[in-house]
Amino acid sequence: MSATELSPGTRDSAKVMNRTDLSKRLVARLHGGEAVIGGIGNTNFDLWAAGQRPENFYMLGSMGLACPIALGVALAQPQRRVIGIEGDGSILMQLGCLGTIAAQGQKNLTIVIMDNGSYQITGGQATLTARGTDIVAVARGAGLEKSAWAADEKDFETRIDRALAADGPWLIAARIDDKPPAAETERNPARIRDRFMQGLGVKS
């Protein structure tokens, strides 16, 4: 890796992108049966909108637990790459999980943070990331050394490709705008779970 690739970057210098677009770019780069856990709210709505893969899990509650759920899947299936996508409000609610993942050194796990500095789904109230908290700095402080801001869309794709090819745990943070999601996830938890387990090849 070059020095630029290792640099964490800063929230202020990262380009403000769009969640729907980034979700599509992410899903388009998945070719190895990667499991993806979409955090509560708009994060999993845009994952749903990007194409309903059986290896996707959509959270309809339990705010803040996308990364712990992803860690559990990654532990159970170490040969499979696992991605947890979480919003800034959600990860702020469960920052301890960054330390757990770092301590576990889970090689097949990647965390993607979609950061628009707001609790968008509840009315756009500011989160702490809009007031100075830098999730990449927090993640690095928690021991996740391979944490960085995506500078732009191309850099996001490059970082996803690298995370799917080399040992993690990785954390990729993306600044996003406040555009609404492209669709809403079908709210049927038992069906979501059953499809996901089929996608992972597990008898439920």
Partner: protein, 178 residues
């Protein structure tokens, strides 16, 4: 022939045996004084993967993910830790039909010295009952294996979370005289 004069195995040895017999390989916990011998034993046993996240809610997420990936797990905690779980149980384990197994060391009763523990203990069973979560309070060593084994099996077969509450009658609990 069994030696009837031999003392029965301590509760933590029996519980560890039941977890193994049911292929529960992932142990997550937030520490508790009473659970210390069980926590020490699972760390020392290569059969188990052991993770100690800083919060019980996170442990439930990890165990839920692992079960969907094909590995059975349990969350060990004390009563006050259980009190942090209603949201994740109501919005993840119950509606998604995920058999999150919980072992709760019961504080707050039978000689509690901390009023906060006594108060929070009173919330535990109403929460479990209101969510329809199968739960059993284990008070006797001779009933431990049967209750734990059957509860785990039922949880897995019915895809429902379940809680085993370890009473001070079983474990000795934690008192001010120690």
């Amino acid at each position: 022939m069994s030696d009837e004069s031999a003392p029965p195995a301590p509760w933590h040895e029996t519980l560890l045996k039941v977890l193994k017999a049911n292929q529960v390989r992932l142990i997550t916990y937030v520490p508790d004084r009473v659970l210390t011998p069980l926590i020490g034993a699972v760390h020392a046993d290569g059969f188990f993967t052991v993770i100690s996240p800083p919060r019980e809610e996170e442990a439930v997420g990890i165990v839920a993910g692992a079960w969907m990936g094909g590995v059975r797990g349990v969350v060990l905690m004390q009563t006050s830790g259980f009190a942090t779980l209603p949201n994740v149980l109501a919005s993840l384990a119950v509606p998604y039909q995920i058999p999150v197994l919980m072992v709760v060391s019961e504080r707050g009763t039978l000689g509690e010295f901390n009023i906060g523990q006594a108060m929070v203990c009173r919330t535990m069973r109403p929460v479990l009952e209101s969510l329809g979560i199968e739960n059993h309070t284990i008070t006797r060593l001779d009933e431990l294996e049967f209750i734990a084994d059957r509860t785990i099996q039922q949880a897995l077969l019915t895809r429902a979370p379940a809680a085993l509450i370890l009473s001070p009658l079983l474990t000795g609990g934690k008192t001010v005289r120690k």
